[in-house]
Structure formats: C-alpha cells, structure tokens
C-alpha cells in the first residue's frame, strides 16, 4: 500500500500527469481547424508531452533529439496560438471563483508540510504538491463553475498557447547551465575575474557578481538568461565555495540583483516599453525613468546585504 502511494505521489507520476495534460492540449490543437499553426503547434506540445511522461526512462540522446525537434519547430515559426479568443461565461460566481485557484497553493503547501512531517524531501514535496494541487483545482473548478471538462481543457490550452514556446525558456536555460558546467565555462570566467580581482576580497567579488548579473540582464533583457552564466562563472566558484556562503542565500540574492537590471532596460520590452504604449504615454522611456532610482537603490542594497550576510552570519 505504501509502495503504491509512493509511486502514485512521486515526481515521475506528476510528470506523467503533466504529459497527459499536454497531449490533451495537443489533441485540441490538432482538432482546431481554424488554428493558423495547427500541425506545428500540435506536434510541439505532443513532443513536450512525450518528454514529460517518458523523460525518466527514454535514453537521454532521444530526449535531446526531441528537444532539438521542438526548437526547430519553434525556430521555423510553426508554433502559434489558436484564433479562438477566450470568451467569458455569463454565470457570475462572486468571490467563490477564487476557490479553485487558491486550492493550488493550499495543496502545494499542505503537501510539502505533510512530507516534512513524514521526514521526506520538502522540495520534492512542494513539486509533487503542485501537481496534486493542479488536479484538485481542476476538480474544484468543475464543481464550482459547473463547467465541462472540455471547457476546462480548452481554457488550459488557451493559456498555454498564449505563452507559447517561451514557457520552456527557464527549463532550457537551466539545461544551458548544465552544458556550461560540463564545458567548464565557469572556470574560464572565474579565472578571468581573479586576474583582475584578488580572490580573497569578498566585497569586490560580491560587487563583481552583482554588477555582472545586472549588466547581463540589461543587455539580454532577461535575468533568467543571465543567472546560469553568473552562477557558474562567478557565484559558485568565487563566492559560495571559497567563502562557504549559504548557496540558497547567495543565489536568490543574485537572481534579484538581476531583477534590478530588468527594471532599467528597454530590452525587457514587455515590462518597460509595452506598458507605455498601453497607457498612451508620451515618453517611451517614462516607465524606465520612473523605476531608475528604485532600481539603483535596491541594487546597491543587494550588494550590501549579500556582503553582510556572508561576512557576519
């Protein structure tokens, strides 16, 4: 029994479930005659479903080739969203409509807490909890809205296609980090930095770490893309390992040092430029100018905070 429960509530089971959800999305896309990228999009999400469901057992070479196939489909512009806009049902439910959405964090936290009580891995507990929470929220949503399963999956597909292949970017970037590590790119950057900054100067290394993170983010417009580079090249080899800094503390502060960069850059157009158009502003850079003093201040506080926490804690 506990063996069954263990495999039912394992991370692989949740991945299989996600794979199944992706196949339903793909099936709906294939069936959507009005979809401008019907076949390409359908294939894209089917392949992702295969990787989710079978990534644990497929030979890694096959998974790698499947990733390349997905990226080729997206690169060729074959992945898009369906024309059907999300309509709004007329039935009004008041505040009860928050319930299905709140079920997700409640189950995630509850599951993780339960796993902790049983002495399990709480990180894994939260991830499995997210999967269980997703299913519980679907059930709660169907009960509360009295909508149909078809509506449920169509709406899920709408959200998924609206974000599109960009959904996969964090996962791809984490994979890029693995390749950088295997190619020893981090050692190379670390070696370059230690030629300029003495390896025992904690403050200057923290400064270089936060400057690097913000600069990369400003150029690329994306702190998630900057993180694997800085983490492998500066943070891990020059700060976490030699100074014994808490990896979780140093890493999350590095990530948000990048967010300060995001606030300053027109490259993050969705956040900084598109809103000026949405709001009809005269100055295209008005949002960035407003955010600049905030961003510079909080960035400087990142440097001080990280340095203090490593030095005195």
């Amino acid at each position: 029994m506990s063996e069954l429960a263990r495999s039912l509530f394992s991370l692989e089971a949740v991945y299989a479930l996600t794979g199944a959800v992706l196949w339903v999305f793909a099936g709906l896309t294939f069936a959507d005659r009005g979809h401008p990228r019907r076949v390409g999009s359908g294939l894209f999400w089917s392949i992702l479903g295969v990787i989710f469901a079978f990534g644990g057992v497929l030979p890694h070479l096959v998974t790698g080739l499947l990733v390349l196939a997905m990226v080729a489909l997206d690169g060729a512009g074959q992945v898009g969203r369906g024309a059907a806009a999300g309509g709004v049902a007329s039935r009004r439910l008041g505040d009860r409509i928050f319930l299905p959405v709140l079920v997700i964090p409640l189950v995630t936290f509850g599951f993780a807490a339960g796993v902790r009580l049983l002495g399990g891995d709480v990180s894994r507990g939260a991830l499995v909890g997210l999967g269980v929470g997703g299913v519980a929220a679907m059930a709660a949503g169907l009960v509360i809205t009295r909508g149909t399963a078809r509506e449920l999956m169509e709406e899920g597909r709408r959200l998924n296609e609206a974000m599109g292949a960009v959904n996969l970017l964090p996962q791809l970037l984490a994979s890029l980090g693995v390749i950088f590590t295997a190619a020893k790119v981090g050692d190379l950057i670390a070696g370059g930095i230690t030629r300029v900054i003495p390896g025992d100067s904690l403050f200057l290394l923290v400064l270089a770490n936060c400057v690097g993170m913000a600069l990369f983010t400003i150029v690329m417009g994306n702190s998630f893309a900057a993180f694997p580079v800085i983490a492998t090249g500066v943070l891990a080899p020059l700060i976490i390992r030699p100074f014994g800094a808490d990896p979780a503390m140093a890493a999350i502060i590095t990530l948000t040092a990048g967010s300060s960069g995001t606030l300053m850059t027109p490259m993050a157009a969705n956040f900084n430029i598109v809103p000026t158009a949405l709001l009809g502003m005269r100055d295209q850079y008005g949002v960035i100018k407003f955010q600049l003093p905030f961003a510079l201040t909080i960035w400087a506080l990142h440097v001080v905070l990280m340095w203090l926490l490593i030095k005195f804690w």
């Binding site: 890694h60 505040d95 991830l127 999967g131 690329m220 890493a251 967010s259 407003f290």
Partner: protein, 231 residues
C-alpha cells in the same frame, strides 16, 4: 589553459547577441549550448545527450503547466473581473496609497504562485483609472481629463512601476515559480543542492526592501501631486 580556451565563451556571446537582436529565444539558447559543447571538444552526440539529460532532469521548472486548466477555467468564469472588484474594494484616498496597496496585492499573488499578465489585465483597465481618479481629487479638479498632462504622465509611469516591483520581487516568495525553480535547478547542476524553501526564505529580505522602497516612492508621488495643486 591553452590559447583557444576563450572560444568557449562563444555560447555566452551567442546568448547575449541573439537575445539583444530579439531572435527566437529557444533557438538562441539551444544554439549557444551546442556551440559551447562543440568548442569544448565534446562529440555532437554527447552534447545532444547532455542536453536531453539536463532537459529531462529540469522538467520541474515547467511543471506549472498542470495548473493551467484550472486557472483558465476560473478566468472564463470571471476570475479577473472578481480580482478587479477585490482591488476596487481597497479604493484609497490618494494615487500613491492605491499603488502601495496594488504592489502588496501583486506580491501576494506572486507568493501564492499565481501568474498574472498584469499590465494588460490590471494596470491598464483598472489601476490606472483608479489612480487618476484619486489624483484628480488630490489636485482639486473635478474631472480626470483636467489632470495636467505632466502629472498624468507621472502617474502612468508609477502604475507600471508598481506592477513591475510587485511582480519581480513577489514571485520569489513562492516555491513553485519559475525564478526559484531555475535557481534550484542551476544550483543542483553545479552540485550545490539546496531546499527550494530555503530559497524562498532568503527572498524575503529583498522583497521587504522592495515594498519599503516602493512605498517611499509612491508617497513622494502623492507629495508632488499635492504640492502641484497650488501652482
């Protein structure tokens, strides 16, 4: 280290240039990975294998897909409209105070692991009209069309800023948002396993700072609007 070792940085160059030129991000990232592996002397099949392994091991980063049906269904039955009604209940006397409340609301949404497309969904249709309405009464004009263009421009920038501050620093308070999971995955790849809850814990100080700094900036906005009344 030989003279050509620096070529390994080609991957970083590809990411930087590719994203700066707004080429398709998935293509740029995978091209960078392949190029880095080749320059480092790995066999092509080995690189693809490594990519496959890394992608499979990092599936948890994209696990949120399983929550999309429930969120989509709730949206169909009025989730956004109800959230808008919720924000309206907090109608504040001044634009600055409203933005402080909105930033907190956004942090809360992030902490609950909810992804909102805030600028089109909330900022434009809701928070901006509410802010300009509050500013009109601060400025002592009867209609919001009479708010001077300079003040209007300032308020628009501040509303967009409140959304970004709340979004960027609030999302790390959830263990299942992409940023925290990316950090978790990259640290694992580096052999520095941590708990995702510890990442969330250490996100708290910066989120608190972001709320304080935001509040200071929005209060200053109120001060300027009130000061501009007699000019």
């Amino acid at each position: 280290m030989n003279d050509f070792a620096w070529l390994k940085l080609i991957g970083i160059v590809i990411v930087v240039v590719g994203l700066a030129l707004r080429l398709r991000t998935t293509l740029v990232v995978v091209a960078a990975g392949l190029a880095t592996g080749l320059v480092a002397g790995m066999p092509p099949a080995g690189i693809v294998e490594l990519l496959g392994r890394a992608f499979a091991e990092n599936r948890f980063v994209t696990l949120f897909i399983v929550t999309l049906p429930a969120v989509g269904l709730a949206e169909r039955y009025g989730l956004r409209e109800q959230a808008a009604a919720l924000i309206r209940r907090f109608a504040a006397a001044t634009a600055g105070r409203l933005l402080i409340v909105y930033q907190l609301f956004r942090v809360l949404m992030g902490a609950l692991g909810l992804r909102l497309n805030g600028h089109p969904a909330f900022v434009r249709p809701l928070v901006y009209p509410m802010s300009i309405g509050a500013a009109a009464s601060t400025l002592g004009v009867s209609r919001f069309e009479d708010v001077p263009p300079a003040a209007d421009e300032k308020i628009k920038a501040a509303v967009a800023g409140a959304e970004n501050y709340g979004n960027f620093y609030g999302q790390n308070l959830s263990p299942v948002q992409a940023g925290v999971l990316l950090v978790y995955g990259v640290l694992q790849g580096l052999g520095l396993g941590v708990s995702i809850w510890r990442l969330v814990l250490f996100a708290v100080p910066v989120t608190a700072l972001s709320v304080i700094l935001g509040a200071l900036q929005f209060r200053r906005l109120d001060g300027r609007l009130a000061g501009g009344r007699d000019e």
